[in-house]
């Protein structure tokens, strides 16, 4: 293996050098979520009250409702649709997928319902009808995100991973 590899490398590299290092400038503009290529922003619906856009990195937080509510009821199932929206602000169509960790788990697009035991579920609000767990988002298109909660008497937390792959 060693002999073969060095022989091949020599042919491709033409033998002028065995390694080279050069620094080149890379500019990465990190923007707040609303302006990113994979844009995350308020849905414009009533439940975007639970989408916290106060920092550069947004979060979902079911706490104050703005109408006196301080959280979900104990021992209850709560569904909150259209909490935030994902927009494809890039230049290619993408397949959007959701996954969760901690107390959060993802459901198929368009199928939000509370989990059967204490926890949080998340789903894209619409199904694109192609039978898989992703949602195709054209350039400039948006899809909302729904949540559901089965609460006991303890607070819940999790991490939502939003993925987007060019088609």
């Amino acid at each position: 293996m060693g002999a073969l590899a060095s022989g091949t490398a020599a042919v491709i590299g033409t033998g002028a050098f065995s390694s080279v290092e050069a620094d080149r400038q890379v500019d990465v503009q990190v923007t707040e979520d609303a302006n990113a290529y994979l844009g995350l922003d308020n849905s414009g619906e009533a439940n975007d009250m639970y989408f916290d856009t106060s920092g550069d990195e947004y979060a979902v937080d079911f706490v104050e409702s703005g109408n006196g509510g301080n959280g979900v009821n104990p021992n209850a199932d709560t569904v909150a649709e259209d909490v935030f929206t994902i927009t494809n602000q890039g230049t290619q169509p993408v397949e959007v997928s959701l996954s969760g960790s901690g107390d959060l788990s993802a459901q198929l697009p368009g199928s939000i319902s509370a989990p059967s035991s204490d926890g949080i579920t998340v789903a894209l609000a619409e199904d694109d009808g192609d039978g898989d767990a992703t949602y195709e988002l054209g350039v400039g298109e948006s899809v909302n995100v729904d949540f559901a909660i089965n609460s006991g008497t303890s607070n819940l937390s999790g991490t939502l991973t939003i993925g987007a792959e060019a088609r």
């Binding site: 439940n47 639970y50 979060a59 409702s65 991490t159 987007a164």
Partner: protein, 181 residues
């Protein structure tokens, strides 16, 4: 293959790689936190609390479980004669027992399930419990949901009809359901 053709081939691959890279992004992944606060029942999005009226004596709030509200017709602490419950073959109406307030983000329709014999443990015979808004006993909430805008509240009463059940303690869970309109 001579060296020149091999290098040309590599160049072509590199060029197509550059072409793929001109999209603004090929894949993206972002982790965001999700938090849920469980409030006390009387502070939650669908706030459930005792009224200020006399019949609030039948309401219990479990301080060990976020003030979860329950109703106990067996053990009223405020009645003058310390009665033990409802009698057989009777219809009782309890106005203004508890209160529902919409502290969420949307206008809702609220219904509460009716409880009949099989719902109870132990199974009852001829026992029905219905919930009604205000004093409107003829419009029970399992048939006629009420609409509550955000920040508005409704007091709720109980209508209990007893057939000839044995003298017993009957327990059941009623479901309060709120749907955005």
């Amino acid at each position: 293959m001579n060296r020149r053709r091999l290098l040309a081939g590599l160049g072509a691959v590199a060029t197509s790689g550059v072409a793929l890279g001109t999209g603004a992004f090929t894949s993206a992944e972002a982790d965001r936190s999700v938090g849920v606060t469980v409030a006390d029942d009387d502070q939650a999005y669908l706030a459930l609390s005792p009224t200020q009226a006399a019949n609030a004596t039948f309401v219990n709030q479990d301080s060990g479980a976020n003030n979860e509200l329950s109703i106990d017709i067996n053990d009223a602490t405020g009645t003058a004669d310390n009665g033990d419950g409802v009698g057989p073959n009777s219809v009782y109406e309890f106005d203004e027992v508890f209160r529902i307030e919409n502290q969420g983000t949307q206008e809702i329709e609220v219904s509460i399930s009716e409880l009949v014999d099989d719902d109870f443990d132990p199974t009852a015979s001829g026992l029905t419990v219905q919930f009604y808004p205000g004093t409107d006993v003829d419009s029970p909430l399992h048939d006629d949901p009420i609409t509550l805008g955000t920040g508005t509240a409704q007091v709720i009463g109980l209508r209990i009809e007893t057939g000839e059940p044995t003298v017993e303690n009957f327990n059941a869970d009623a479901t309060v359901r709120a749907e955005a309109t």
